[in-house]
C-alpha cells in the first residue's frame, strides 16, 4: 500500500487519461510548431505538395512536451524567488516579469511579459 498511493496519484491526476504519458498535449504543441514553421496546411506524414512545405516529425512534439516541463519549472522557480524578495506568498505576473528580466536566457520573453504591464512601479530596469 505504501507504493500504491503515489502510483494511484499518477493515474488519478489525469496525466495518463488526458494526455497519455506526456504532461502536455502533443497535438497542441504541434499546432504551435506549425504556426512557427510557417506552414499550417500540411498533414503530418502526408505527401507534401510544394517544396516549401514544412513537416514535423512525430518525435519533435514529444521532445517539446518534456522541454516545456523543464522550462515552466525553471521560470516558476525564478518567479518564486522574486515573490520571496517581496515577502509575499502569491506569485504574480510581475514576479514572472522580474524573473525574465533577471535571466539572459529568457531575453526572448521580454515582450511577452511586459505587454500588459502599464504601471510605472513595475518597471524593472
Amino acid at each position: 500500500m505504501r507504493q500504491a498511493r503515489p502510483y494511484s496519484a499518477m493515474f488519478a491526476g489525469g496525466v495518463s487519461a488526458r494526455t497519455g504519458p506526456h504532461a502536455l498535449p502533443l497535438a497542441r504543441i504541434k499546432k504551435i510548431m506549425k504556426r512557427s514553421a510557417g506552414d499550417s496546411s500540411v498533414v503530418d506524414g502526408g505527401g507534401g505538395g510544394g517544396g516549401g512545405a514544412r513537416m514535423i516529425s512525430g518525435e519533435a512534439p514529444v521532445v517539446f512536451s518534456k522541454a516545456c516541463e523543464l522550462f515552466i519549472a525553471e521560470l516558476t522557480r525564478r518567479a518564486w524567488a522574486a515573490t520571496l524578495e517581496g515577502k509575499r506568498r502569491t506569485v504574480h505576473k510581475e514576479d514572472v516579469a522580474a524573473a525574465v528580466q533577471n535571466t539572459d536566457l529568457f531575453d526572448f520573453l521580454v515582450d511577452v511579459v511586459t505587454a500588459d504591464l502599464g504601471d510605472d512601479h513595475t518597471d524593472y530596469k
Partner: protein, 254 residues
Amino acid sequence: MEAGYPGTAANGAAADGNGGAQQAAAAPAIREQDRLMPIANVIRIMRRVLPAHAKISDDAKETIQECVSEYISFITGEANERCQREQRKTITAEDVLWAMSRLGFDDYVEPLGVYLHRYREFEGESRGVGVGVGAARGDHHHGHVGGMLKSRAQGSMVTHHDMQMHAAMYGGGAVPPPPHPPPHHHAFHQLMPPHHGQYAPPYDMYGGEHGMAAYYGGMYAPGSGGDGSGSSGSGGAGTPQTVNFEHQHPFGYK
C-alpha cells in the same frame, strides 16, 4: 516517419478549458485555446516546484502560458531555419535539440536526449504488447475505460512503468517518501475547476495531494552535487535540478 497522434489529438481537444487569453494579431484565424498550452497542465507543473503554501495568481498563470507558447515558437523557428539551410522538409527531434543548444538551453539537451531514447523504447514495447497491456488495464483500473485501444494501451504502459519507477526509487536507497503535506483546501479549490466534473472529486483531491508528495520526494533527493557547465544566463544550480527531473521521469524503467 511516424504519423500523427489521433488519440492524443482527441485528448488534447478534450483538455480545452482556457479562456480570456488575448489573441495574437498575427494569427486571427487560429482559435484562442489552440494558441496556448492547457492551463491545468501548466498549473500542475508549476505546483511541482513551488512549496505547498505558495499561491499563484491568475495573471501569473496566463503569463506563464504565453511564455510557453513563445518558447515553442522560439525554438521551432531556429530549428526551421536549419531545415531550410539543409533543404530538408521535416523538423526532427534532433533539430529541436540542436536549436535548444544553440539558443542557450544547453542544460535541457541531456535530459531530453534520455527522455527521447526511452520514448523510442517505449514505443517499440507498446506496439508489441498492446493487447495484453490493454487487458491488464481493464483488470486493475475499473472506471477508467474509454478511448481508443492505443490510448488505453499507452495509459496502461504508463501505469505499469510508474509502478516500476516508484519501486526503483524505494529500492535504490532513495530517501523514504516524505510525510504527506497537510490538506490545503485552497490548493484543491484551484485544482478542481479545470476538471469541470470530468472526474469524481475524491479522485482529484486524492491525486492532487499524493501527486505533490511524490514529486516533493524526488525534489528533496537531488543526489549528485557539484558544478555543471553554466550556459549563458543560467546558474550552476541547474545541474542538480536537472537530476531531479530524471528522477521524476515518467519512463523510469531500466
